[in-house]
Structures are given as structure tokens and as C-alpha cells.
């Protein structure tokens, strides 16, 4: 039973590791009091920076008044401190062998920050009660698992929720599983993992030649990264506005993603070779005399004339049927962001 802030800080990273199912944490075991207006920061050197007033003091109070009844506002304040703690620990989680150097480099790529922050915030909120029970905090502050607190990162969270929920449905995964999988990755693995889920749950693995599969996945990843990067524009705006814009962007992104997948599937679906029609004029015998009809109704060529009546010769060489989708999505096509 944890009875102090110090005990909590000693146990909190292992609890995050347990409930996440991740292989490792990059946390060095060091906690630093944050400066410069920072609430919580998972530093690339493995140290955890926490604000005294908003994180450390409420958590000290949590144990100082252990077992006492609290107001709802106090319980919400504890939850907000704990969710920041769990969010920051989420940044340190990764698969076996993942390095902070690689994660740091990947974090600077387009769309990485929006996905990682959205995933960490959503996962931390969705699993906060598991974390609270794992650490026995529901015994220290009764009722803490019954109150609610709102996620931050309003510019990213709604779009990431729509995106991960859609991936769950497309891949036939239990609700929340995509979020759990992405949360166990560092920035290095998050986008490749998401794209692999999308790709494998489409028909593309059965249609795209194996040597073209990496290029097709890379094209998809670049397009998605571009769309997620666009979410950063909403960060400075009030939460309500950022939330609605993020939701709208997420909806557009999914529409464009499904359209892109359908187009790619059609592009790679083998189709019957189009009928080749060659309008070679029949060789007619030389007219025996002047002014005779070229194809009288009862002539052997009459049927041919009727059969081709109204058929225009092709104006340009084409190997695609008239309704074929536009031929793009190959590796040679420059990636564009999916948000229309």
C-alpha cells in the first residue's frame, strides 16, 4: 500500500508499464521539478519533469489527507495530476529494443507529434481508472474513480479518436485495441504500426505485388502524416473550436483514406483485357459498274455495317476500360495529404 508521494513516484512507472503491456520504459528513474511554465515533460534524456503546483503538491495532498472525504473539485484536481503523470509515462513506453535517440528523430517528422500526443492523452484518460486501482489510489481518495476530467490536446484528441476507432473497426479489433497498440510504440514505430494495420485490413496485400507493397505503404504513411500535421494549426485556438475542427478534419481524413484505399484496390485489381475493336474497312470487290449501292440490304456485308453502326474509332490508345479509376497511388505518385 502506497502511503506517500515518494512511494507513488517510486511505483508509478512500473504501474504504467503493467497496465500498458509495453515491453520497456525509457524513464531513467529521475524526477525533476519542472520550470518555465511546464506542467509535465518526458525529456529525451529519460528524466521526468513535473510542475510543483499543479502535479506534485496535489499528489502530496492526496496522501497527506489519505482516506478523508474530498470535494469533487479536489478529486478532479488529483485526477488531472495523475493523468498528466500517466500521459508522460506513456511517452517513455516502447517495444523491446526501442531507443530514445530513434524516437527523438522520429518525433520531428511530419504528423508524429499530433499522433503521439493524441494517443498518449486518449490512452491515459481511457485507462486512468485502471492506473488508479493498480496503485491503490481509490482507497486513499474514495470516489476518485467516479469523477471525470476532460482531455487536453483538443487539436489532436478528436481526430486521433476517430482514426483509432476506425482502425479497430476495419481491422476487426476489440474497441480501444489500436490505441493500446500505438501506445506501446515510440514515435519511431507509431506511424508504421498504424499504416500496417490499415494496409493489412484492406484487400491490398492480396492485390499489390510484394515488391510494390513497401512503396504503397510509404505512400499511405506520407499522406496520413501530412493530414495529421495539419492539426497543429488548431493548437492556439480555444478548446471548443479546436475540438470541432479536429473532429471535422478527422472525418475528412477518414473519408479520403477510404477513398484512397478503394482507388488503390481498383487500380491493382486485375481486369479483363479491354476489347480491341479495329475498324478495318472490309475489302470489297471492285464495283462492277457505276452507281450501284455499296451495301445493299441483302448483301453479305450488311450485318457488319449494322453491327458497327454508331461505333466511333478510339481517339487515343487506351488500355483501361471507360470506368476504370484514375491510375495513381503508385510509388511514383507524390504523396498528398488525405484531407481534401
Amino acid at each position: 500500500m502506497i502511503t506517500s508521494l515518494e512511494g507513488l513516484l517510486e511505483q508509478h512507472a512500473r504501474a504504467a508499464l503493467r497496465i500498458s503491456g509495453a515491453d520497456q520504459t525509457a524513464w531513467s528513474g529521475q524526477i525533476v521539478e519542472a520550470g518555465e511554465g511546464i506542467l509535465g515533460l518526458a525529456h529525451w534524456d529519460g528524466t521526468l519533469h513535473l510542475d510543483r503546483a499543479c502535479i506534485l503538491e496535489p499528489l502530496r495532498d492526496l496522501y497527506h489527507r489519505g482516506g478523508e472525504p474530498r470535494t469533487e473539485a479536489e478529486l478532479v484536481q488529483y485526477r488531472e495530476a495523475l493523468v498528466t503523470l500517466l500521459h508522460e509515462q506513456s511517452h517513455f513506453l516502447g517495444p523491446a529494443g526501442a531507443s530514445q535517440e530513434a524516437a527523438r528523430a522520429a518525433f520531428t517528422l511530419p504528423g508524429s507529434r499530433a499522433l503521439e500526443e493524441g494517443v498518449a492523452e486518449l490512452w491515459a484518460h481511457d485507462h486512468l481508472n485502471d492506473y488508479i486501482r493498480e496503485l491503490g489510489i481509490d482507497k486513499v481518495a474514495p470516489g476518485i474513480d467516479k469523477v471525470r476530467s476532460e482531455p487536453s490536446y483538443a487539436a489532436f484528441v478528436p481526430a486521433v479518436r476517430l482514426f483509432t476507432d476506425d482502425l479497430d473497426r476495419q481491422a476487426g479489433l476489440p474497441p480501444g485495441e489500436t490505441l493500446r497498440l500505438l501506445n506501446r510504440q515510440t514515435a519511431e514505430g507509431q506511424w508504421p504500426q498504424a499504416v500496417a494495420l490499415i494496409y493489412d485490413s484492406s484487400r491490398l496485400p492480396h492485390l499489390v505485388p510484394p515488391d510494390q507493397a513497401p512503396a504503397a505503404q510509404l505512400h499511405l504513411e506520407q499522406a496520413l502524416r501530412g493530414s495529421f500535421r495539419g492539426l497543429e494549426l488548431y493548437e492556439p485556438f480555444p478548446r471548443g473550436f479546436a475540438t470541432s475542427r479536429s473532429h471535422a478534419a478527422g472525418t475528412r481524413l477518414l473519408t479520403a483514406l477510404h477513398k484512397e484505399l478503394t482507388t488503390a484496390e481498383h487500380h491493382h485489381t486485375p481486369t479483363p483485357h479491354p476489347t480491341q475493336i479495329t475498324l478495318t474497312p472490309p475489302t470489297l470487290p471492285a464495283a462492277p459498274g457505276p452507281a450501284t449501292p455499296s451495301t445493299p440490304a441483302d448483301s453479305p456485308h450488311s450485318a457488319l455495317h449494322h453491327a458497327f453502326a454508331g461505333v466511333a474509332p478510339p481517339t487515343s490508345p487506351s488500355t483501361s476500360p471507360p470506368n476504370a479509376p484514375p491510375q495513381h497511388t503508385s510509388a511514383a505518385t507524390p504523396a498528398r495529404q488525405l484531407e481534401p
Binding site: 518555465e36 511554465g37 511546464i38 506542467l39 509535465g40 515533460l41 518526458a42 525529456h43 529525451w44 499543479c54 488531472e80 498528466t84 511517452h91 527523438r104 528523430a105 518525433f107 520531428t108 507529434r113 500526443e117 492523452e121 476532460e150 487536453s152 490536446y153 483538443a154 487539436a155 493548437e235 492556439p236 480555444p238 478548446r239 479546436a242
Partner: protein, 50 residues
């Protein structure tokens, strides 16, 4: 293509802007939302730092 140095400088400007907005905020939820974005941008700035 924006250089890493330019991106680092732009990130620092954005951090300063969001901090100003957070300090001026009266609504605690808005303040927290902006402050958390600052945390994330500081993490990005450290990653970009030459």
C-alpha cells in the same frame, strides 16, 4: 523545405505565443490545454535542438 534551424526558431516563437495565451487565460481548462501544448512543443524543440 524548412531547415531544422528555421523550424526550431518557429517552434520557439510558437511556445512563446502559447505561453502568453495561457498566462492571459482565466478559464483553467483553457489554460491547461494551452500549457499542455507548450509541454509538447518544448519536447519538440528539444528534439530539434542542434
Amino acid at each position: 523545405m524548412e531547415s531544422t534551424e528555421d523550424r526550431y526558431a518557429r517552434t520557439q516563437l510558437l511556445i512563446a505565443d502559447l505561453r502568453r495565451r495561457a498566462e492571459a487565460c482565466e478559464d483553467p481548462r483553457e489554460k491547461t490545454n494551452l500549457s499542455r501544448s507548450v509541454d509538447s512543443l518544448v519536447r519538440l524543440a528539444v528534439a530539434l535542438k542542434p
